[in-house]
């Protein structure tokens, strides 16, 4: 679907321009209290890194990776914080904000009365979520390099991975939001998100879990994302990471397809 959609977007300037107008709308609305929300999105992973990575890490000491390499605990945790902050940034923009705009403010009804089409609105919103998520990611990588938890070269590679992770979770969040009936439903999203955050090989290697649980953990999207960023930040990239990329791309495409279809169904009846 990505390969079908992207060339069409680039070929005719109309759709890209119209998605751009959605980004512009968000940039215009960005001021005042909103910055606090954005800043907290950056602070959160940093707090986890210092409290658990550095603090708890001092008690744990070094960690032996499945491949046999030994790394300090903070270096093990940091890439996971990077991946999960990319997820959090993308999800908060595409779940709460997206749902509120669609259901309560009826913003998309207004937009769809103009030449904008559902897929263009969805892509515009997603691109905006990415801009926000990627600023978190980049800032966090700078901190990682400063703390000597990765090298600048690896940080650049990891940055591209966070962009992909953001797109994947952003499109999933948007697709999910189209099924939400009320704010209460988001409690489920928040719980699932927190469970993913805790158990996706973030703080403990998945090898520590019993076999069945381990399989379950390893097929979750955040686990694949953490696997990718960890390999990029610490070294040891192999075929498995190519699979991670493929897996995330497929989820992204599926999320976009569902989101734009559902938006059309909900708003253009």
């Amino acid at each position: 679907m990505v390969t079908l959609m992207l060339p069409r977007l680039i070929a005719s300037e109309g759709p890209a321009r119209r998605s751009g107008a959605v980004i512009e709308r968000n940039a215009t609305s960005l001021r005042g209290a909103y910055w606090i929300v954005v800043a907290s999105g950056f602070l959160e992973p940093l707090l986890y890194l210092f409290s658990i990575g550095v603090g708890v890490g001092a008690l744990i000491g070094d960690l032996t990776l499945p491949g046999g390499r030994v790394v300090e605990y903070a270096a093990f945790v940091a890439p996971a914080m990077l991946a999960s902050s990319a997820m959090t940034g993308a999800l908060s923009e595409t779940t709460f904000n997206f749902f509120g705009k669609m259901k309560y403010w009826k913003l998309y009804d207004g937009m769809l009365a103009t030449p904008l089409r559902p897929i263009e609105v969805a892509l515009g919103e997603l691109a905006w979520a990415m801009i926000r998520g990627n600023i978190y990611g980049a800032a966090f990588l700078v901190v990682m390099v400063a703390m000597d938890l990765t090298t600048p070269g690896r940080a650049v590679a990891a940055f591209f991975a966070t962009v992909l992770i953001g797109f994947t979770f952003g499109s999933l969040g948007m697709a999910l939001s189209t099924f939400m009936r009320s704010w209460q439903d988001f409690d489920i999203v928040v719980s699932v998100q927190f469970a993913l955050f805790l158990f996706s090989g973030t703080f403990v290697p998945a090898q520590a879990y019993p076999a069945v649980l381990r399989w379950l953990v390893e097929i979750t999207p955040l686990y694949r994302a953490v696997d990718l960023t960890r390999a990029l930040c610490l070294g040891g990239v192999g075929w498995l990471q190519l699979l991670d990329v493929f897996y995330l791309l497929v989820l992204f495409a599926a999320g976009m397809a569902v989101a734009s279809r559902r938006m059309g169904k909900l708003l253009l009846k």
């Binding site: 107008a21 403010w105 103009t114």
Partner: protein, 306 residues
């Protein structure tokens, strides 16, 4: 060529048929109205015309284009003022216009100039940098109308433009819409207020239960379906019904409502004289000119607003 052309237009939601085969032609420069009670199918029709709701059947051409194939093109030339304001609460009054203009691909500079012009037109210049939230209902409506004009549309669709506004705010909206009409903008509006239809519409259709029950100018509809004047009688009693028989023979027709009886007559004063000669003494007597409300009552046996 008609700007809007519909033949046998149908809209179904599952088993429910909201619009049941209507024929409509709207000409350039016309102010065209859909008059009817809630649930008559007005809004569904408007959404189909606005290319945000695919027709379930029949023919629909807008600006000589097909809404299903050329939705993007058509919407670029329409202005839409929806029934419920969907202004952007995160933006200021001015930004609501400039941002919306960008959705139509209007360059920023042009958008700013047009926003200033339109704010002036709807008398909101003083509130340009205010957020939308604190505005009154009438101001929000005017802003929504201004937003619908930001792309200099050929057709402006207004879904119940004054529902929920106080009389003063309504008159201000009517006055602005009248000016648009004078400028030659094609207006298509829905309403369940007969005075609104009388004030603004050159031509209208009366809708009920998804179908068109009458069509014409407000004047011709009144001439055809009602008398020149109406006498409203209110009797001080539990029920108005027993008095109907006693009024037999006065006027062309009579209608019993829960709280009053309407007599359709040519000369109101003559009819009142006849009533008092019977002798009947209603608690309240009102002689008025016939309106579209009476047309609707004649056609459907129900009032427009209940």
């Amino acid at each position: 060529m008609a700007l809007i052309h519909a033949r046998g237009l149908v809209k179904r939601f599952g088993d429910f048929t909201a619009v049941d085969g209507i024929d409509v032609d709207v000409q350039r420069g016309e102010a065209f109205g859909f008059l009817g009670p809630n649930g008559a199918g007005k809004s569904s029709t408007m959404r189909m015309i606005g290319c945000v709701s695919p027709p379930s059947g029949g023919v629909l051409r807008i600006l000589d284009l097909d809404p299903l194939r050329d939705g993007v093109k058509i919407r670029g030339r329409l202005g839409v003022c929806p029934q419920l304001d969907n202004l952007d609460p995160e933006l200021t009054v001015r930004e609501n216009l400039t941002t919306y203009a960008r959705f139509f691909g209007i360059p920023r500079k042009v958008a700013r100039a047009r926003a200033a012009e339109l704010l002036d037109f709807v008398q909101l210049t003083e509130r340009a940098d205010s957020k939308v939230e604190p505005l009154s209902g009438g101001m929000k409506r005017r802003l929504t109308i201004a937003r619908a004009l930001v792309n200099e549309p050929e057709i402006v669709l207004l879904d119940e433009p004054t529902t929920g506004l106080d009389p003063q705010a309504r008159h201000l909206v009517w006055e602005r819409l009248f000016r648009l009409k004078q400028q030659g903008v094609t207006l298509v509006l829905t309403t369940h207020y007969m005075d609104e239809a009388e004030q603004l519409c050159d031509r209208l259709v009366v809708m009920d239960g998804g179908t068109i029950v009458a069509e014409g100018s407000p004047r011709t509809l009144i001439d055809r379906y009602s008398t020149r004047e109406v006498v409203e009688l209110r009797f001080a009693a539990e029920s108005q019904e027993p008095f109907a028989d006693k009024l037999d023979g006065i006027g062309e027709r009579l209608e019993i409502l829960p709280d009053r009886i309407l007599l359709y007559v040519e000369q109101g004063d003559d009819a009142v004289a006849a009533v008092t000669a019977r002798p009947l003494s209603p608690a309240n007597v009102l002689v008025r000119r016939s309106s579209l409300e009476d047309v609707f009552l004649t056609l459907t046996g129900r009032t427009l607003v209940d």
